[in-house]
Each structure stands twice: as structure tokens, then as C-alpha cells.
């Protein structure tokens, strides 16, 4: 994602200058020069050989797969017979008539709206706490990071019991505080908060990114503000927050995309057992797509589902980038 410096007076680093437009005279010369001069033929051949694995994979498993997916979404695909026949818009029409689609979409969006801000807040809080300690921060970082290393099945197998409404440790703990805990995994109202709790337990990936960003906040800026009499709160909002806004913004986008595709925990807690009955509130979009494709083998309908969520994720990301670019402060253009 290319970004431009908001403040034109910001001194740009030397390598960045190369990206700015050359003077018109040089530009004209560059354009007139035949391309053959600019590349060494042997070098070009070698380069394409080196990147050929990616090109091949991209053509088959990304572009090819996407085209294939689009075709299937307009077809009836019978995997047992190996036949594919055109369906027109039938799959998409079914999409809009199926009451489970808005249900799954609603659940997923609700989860994302709940999870992403909480993840950002908790991760930022933890990162700020860790950034303040000098001794022992490594130990705490390790402890906070362990949940992230835990396989989703292990997490789910433990939280299935911790979140049990009758004898689970979480409700026992709440009872000590005088709170009557809910039926986390049964009560439709509490299904999504349950998942958010599990997600927050593994929030340390985001924390590590934010911690790295905090370490990059120049201390002289903070010290200058302190000499000017700015309090801790003022320093946080005027210096720290703008300086880490890039990392925050990146995390919001990535976490949103992940939240909209949440699968593992929902599947493990509610849909693992095919005969079991799961509350409607736990039907997430990725789970429904998985069921339609790999339990019902309705690949046409599943592909239509996939394209719908693709368009939704794309739209949300675009809006986030547009809004984000207005608030994010980019210190230097570190172009990838």
C-alpha cells in the first residue's frame, strides 16, 4: 500500500527521493531509451527462473483457483459423478433466499465488531505495560505469548470446560466475586463473548507488533514533551499514539480480516459433532461455508458464499484503508 507523507516539510530520507518524480528532462530521456538497454537479457532469464515457482503457484492456486471458483459459483458441480452443468444465477439466488446466510453474516459481523476493538485495546494495554518495565519484560512477554503457541484444539478442549456454565472455572471464579455467571456456550447471548474470551487469551501476537512499534517511538520526542510540561496522558495522545498509529492501523485491518473468517474455535466448540445441535448464534460464516462445501458437497452454493464474503471483506478493507489514511501518521516511507 503506497502512502504519501502528510506533512510536506518532513525531511525525507535519501533512498526515498529516488521514488519521487525525476525532472522532466530526465524523464523524457528515460522514456526514449529503448527497454533493451535497461535490462540484461541473461539477468532477466535468471530472475524469471528464480521466481518461476511463485508464478506457477500463483497461476494455478490463486488466479486459476479464483476463476474456477467463479465458474463453479454459476454451476451445479456434482463431485460424485464428476459433472458440471451451468446453473446461471441459481446459486446466488439461493444465497439471498437462505435465511442462514444473513444469520451467519450477522453472527460473524457481530463477533468482529466485538473482538477487533477489544483485541486492539487489550494488546495495546499489555504492550504499554511491558514497555514500561526494564527488568523482567522478557519473562512477561514469554508468559503472555504462550497462548499464541498453543494449538487451537488444545485451547478449545480446555475452554470447553472452563466456560461450562454449571461447573466451569470461569463461573466459579465469578461466583467468588458475587457474580452469577451465564451459560457461556449455551445461551445465545453469550456464545460470541465466549469466543472473544478465547481470542483475547491469544492476543499476544498483536501485542508483540505493538510493543515493537512502541520501542520505535523516539525518546527525544517524549523527553521534549516532558520538558514542555506535558503530562503522561497528553504525551500518550499527542506523541505515542500518532507514532504507533501505523502499526495499530495495520493490526485493525489484519484482525478484521481474520475475525470475518473465524473458524477453528467455532467449529471445535459447536460443530465438531455432526449430529450435535449447535445454537444458531454460533453459526459463523466460515463454518457455514465449510459445511456447505465439505459436508453437503454443494460446491456451487459454497463458491457463491465464498464470493459474497470476499466482496464484503474487500469492501470493509477498502473503507478501513480510506478512513485510516486520514488518521495514520507515517513517519518515514518505508516502502516494501
Amino acid at each position: 500500500m503506497a502512502v504519501t507523507a502528510i506533512d510536506p516539510t518532513t525531511p525525507s530520507s535519501a533512498p526515498e527521493k529516488r521514488f519521487s518524480a525525476p525532472p522532466p528532462s530526465r524523464l523524457r530521456r528515460m522514456l526514449r531509451r529503448p527497454p533493451r538497454d535497461r535490462y540484461n537479457r541473461r539477468e532477466v532469464v535468471a530472475a524469471y527462473l528464480f521466481i518461476s515457482p511463485w508464478i506457477l503457484g500463483f497461476l494455478i492456486f490463486t488466479v486459476g483457483a479464483m476463476v474456477f471458483s467463479l465458474v463453479i459459483s454459476f454451476s451445479h458441480y456434482n463431485i460424485a459423478a464428476g459433472t458440471i452443468r451451468p446453473a446461471g444465477g441459481a446459486n446466488y439466488a439461493a444465497l439471498f433466499q437462505d435465511p442462514k446466510v444473513p444469520l451467519a453474516l450477522g453472527n460473524t459481523l457481530f463477533y468482529a465488531v466485538l473482538a477487533v476493538p477489544l483485541e486492539i485495546l487489550v494488546a495495546l494495554g499489555l504492550a504499554l505495560l511491558l514497555n514500561r518495565v526494564r527488568a523482567g519484560s522478557g519473562l512477561f512477554r514469554t508468559i503472555y505469548y504462550l497462548p499464541k503457541m498453543t494449538p487451537a484444539v488444545a485451547t478449545a478442549s480446555v475452554f470447553l470446560l472452563l466456560l461450562n456454565g454449571n461447573q466451569g472455572a470461569i463461573n466459579k471464579g465469578l461466583a467468588l466475586l458475587g457474580v452469577d455467571g451465564p451459560q457461556w456456550l449455551v445461551d445465545p447471548t453469550w456464545v460470541k463473548p465466549s469466543l472473544v474470551i478465547m481470542t483475547l487469551w491469544g492476543v499476544s501476537g498483536t501485542m508483540v507488533i505493538l510493543l515493537a512499534a512502541l520501542k520505535n517511538v523516539p525518546t527525544d520526542l517524549v523527553e521534549a514533551a516532558m520538558l514542555d510540561g506535558a503530562g503522561a496522558v497528553r504525551r500518550f495522545f499527542s506523541i505515542t499514539l500518532p507514532m504507533i498509529s501505523g502499526a495499530l492501523f495495520f493490526n485493525v485491518i489484519v484482525l478484521t480480516i481474520a475475525a470475518l473468517q473465524v473458524f477453528d474455535q467455532a467449529y471445535l466448540l459447536f460443530y465438531r459433532d455432526q449430529g450435535g445441535t449447535a445454537p444458531d448464534a454460533s453459526l459463523f460464516y466460515a463454518v457455514y461455508l465449510f459445511q456447505q462445501a465439505f459436508r453437503q458437497f454443494d460446491f456451487g452454493f459454497a463458491s457463491a458464499l465464498a464470493w459474497l464474503i470476499f466482496v464484503i471483506i474487500l469492501a470493509i478493507s477498502v473503507v478501513q484503508v480510506k478512513v485510516g489514511n486520514r488518521f495514520v501518521y507515517y513517519e518515514s516511507e518505508e516502502r516494501a
Binding site: 500500500m1 535490462y39 532477466v44 535468471a46 530472475a47 524469471y48 527462473l49 528464480f50 521466481i51 511463485w54 506457477l56 503457484g57 500463483f58 492456486f61 490463486t62 483457483a65 479464483m66 474456477f68 471458483s69 463431485i79 518495565v133 512477561f140 512477554r141 514469554t142 508468559i143 503472555y144 505469548y145 504462550l146 497462548p147 503457541m149 494449538p151 487451537a152 484444539v153 488444545a154 485451547t155 478442549s157 480446555v158 461447573q167 472455572a169 466459579k172 487469551w201 501476537g205 507488533i209 515493537a212 525518546t219 516532558m226 495495520f250 473468517q261 477453528d264 471445535l268 465438531r272 459433532d273 466460515a286 462445501a293 465439505f294 463458491s303 464470493w307 464474503i309 471483506i313 516494501a336
Partner: protein, 294 residues
């Protein structure tokens, strides 16, 4: 931030600093306890007999270390770990090698289309997996490989966007003179990669290995899609434990011997802890790089 506050401002300020530090450490410790509690719970549940698994006691009333012996005959855990190890190692090595090749192509050479193609590499990082899930399955099905472990590592032959990005960043940081010297010594493009770039990029190569090993070890969905329905001995760790959860969970009519699920869950988490203990530095570096790719 308070680290920079001058400390000689008088006793009142010093006292505030001490209290602040104490509060700060208390909060850190409390959070650590919160994060560690599920692990403690898991460990003690794995050491309890059938009737006590759900009693929430952190110290088992009847310690049952036999669980750790019985579990191996109770569940085909040995096969699951073996399958997962095989797949994860293969997946990690293949993706590290292929991504390094591709990354070197992008980092070292000048060629037409480089900017656009690298932009596409970055774009695929943001692509939601949902769109390619079904067609990729149908492709593997056409090749007759559904039910084998090939779909769980096969795609790694073609490099992976984030790892390509990571390795490329590393190669770009290597001094150009090194390669000039190599060329003087008669190394061709392959030699420059094999003899100079690859050996020097061990740190980021390790990051790729660790990340992909972890991702593969934890990958539930691919196992569900490609291995489900086959013999239980062919399962991977995530798929196996998921099936054990159903088999033993008392809430949906299982046997109730949930302690075996707990033992298995603990045993498959340990390698990840070990991986992190050994490679923490690499993990932290790798994650911190993610924020810079935007």
C-alpha cells in the same frame, strides 16, 4: 515512559515512583496469572482420574500419572504426532526453500515487471482464504490426492507471500559488494544464491521454518477437508484431538474419559512451547516484521 523522568525531584516523587512500580508489577503478575491459569488447569486435569477431571482443583485429589501411559493405547496419538511431524517438517522446509528462491529473484535482479509482480505477491497476502478453499480442493481431487497428506504441504512448493516478503527484506539488507565479489570469483546467479545469499540468510530462514512449522502443526481446517473420514491412524494432531473431544466429551454423549483429551492436548502443546523456548528471538522478530509490510 516514566523511565526518563529525572529521579532527584524529592522524596514525594520517589515514593510515588516506588508505589507506581509496585502497582505496575502487581498488574503484570496478575495478568500473567490469568494467562497461565488455563495451562495450570490443563496440567492438573491431565493428572486426574475420570471422576475428578472437571472439579477445577489445581492440585489433583487423586494424582493419576498413569494417564500419561494409558493415553498411548487409548488413542492413536503416536500416529497423529508422527503424521503431523512429517507434514510440518516437509511443509516448513519446502516453503522456506521455495520462498527463498523467489525472494532472491525479486531482491537481486532487475527485470521487467518486477514491481507489478511483487505487488501481486503482497496482494495475495490479503486474499481471504475462503475464495480459494473450494477450487483448491477440487484441483487436489482431480489429481486424486484427496485423502493423502499431499494437499497439506504441496502448495508450499510454490512459495508463500509473507515468507517471500520476509526473505526479500533480508536479502535487500545484504551488501551488494558481497555479490560483486562472488561474481568476480566466477559465480553465476545460482551460485550467488546458493553460496552467498542462502547461507547468510539463516536468521530469517529460521523464522520461516518456525512460523510454518507452527502453522502446519496447528492447521485444523486443511486436515478436516483432506483427511477427515479416513482411518483415524492417518489423522494429524488437530484432527485427532478434535475427534477425541467428541469421543470423550461427556456433554454430547461421549465416554467421559476426558482426562485422555487433556493429556493429549498437553502433549501436543509441549513441542510448540519447546519451539518457542528455542526460537523466541526469531518469533518476535518475525512478528514485528509483519507490521512493516503494509
Amino acid at each position: 515512559m516514566s523511565a526518563a523522568v529525572p529521579t532527584d525531584r524529592g522524596p514525594r516523587y520517589r515514593l510515588r515512583g516506588v508505589v507506581g512500580t509496585a502497582v505496575h508489577w502487581t498488574v503484570l503478575l496478575a495478568i500473567a496469572a490469568l494467562f497461565l491459569y488455563p495451562f495450570a488447569w490443563l496440567l492438573s486435569a491431565s493428572l486426574k482420574p475420570r471422576g475428578e477431571v472437571f472439579d477445577n482443583a489445581l492440585i489433583p485429589a487423586t494424582p493419576t500419572p498413569e494417564n500419561y501411559v494409558t493415553v498411548w493405547s487409548e488413542l492413536p496419538l503416536f500416529s497423529w504426532v508422527g503424521n503431523s511431524l512429517y507434514i510440518a517438517i516437509l511443509a516448513a522446509v519446502l516453503v522456506a526453500l521455495s520462498s527463498s528462491l523467489v525472494a532472491f529473484g525479486f531482491a537481486y535482479f532487475r527485470f521487467p515487471g518486477r514491481g507489478i509482480l511483487f505487488g501481486l505477491v503482497l496482494a495475495t497476502m490479503m486474499l481471504p482464504g475462503a475464495v480459494t478453499l473450494v477450487p483448491q480442493y477440487l484441483i487436489w481431487n482431480q489429481l486424486g490426492l484427496v485423502g493423502t497428506s499431499v494437499p497439506l504441504w504441496g502448495i508450499n512448493l510454490f512459495g508463500s507471500a509473507f515468507y517471500i516478503f520476509l526473505q526479500r527484506q533480508f536479502y535487500l539488507g545484504l551488501p551488494r559488494d558481497l555479490f560483486e565479489a562472488g561474481r568476480m570469483d566466477g559465480l553465476g546467479p545460482w551460485g550467488l544464491f546458493r553460496r552467498i545469499a542462502l547461507p547468510l540468510s539463516i536468521p530469517s530462514f529460521v523464522i520461516v521454518l518456525l512460523f510454518e512449522f507452527q502453522a502446519s502443526w496447528n492447521n485444523l481446517q486443511a486436515s478436516l477437508i483432506y483427511l477427515n473420514g479416513g482411518a483415524a491412524s492417518g489423522y494429524t494432531v488437530p484432527l485427532g484431538i478434535a475427534s477425541a473431544m467428541t469421543k470423550y466429551s461427556p456433554t454430547n454423549g461421549g465416554h467421559g474419559d476426558y482426562q485422555y483429551v487433556m493429556v493429549a492436548a498437553l502433549l501436543v502443546t509441549l513441542p510448540m512451547m519447546l519451539l518457542f523456548a528455542v526460537g523466541q528471538r526469531y518469533f518476535v522478530q518475525g512478528i514485528a516484521t509483519q507490521a512493516r509490510k503494509g
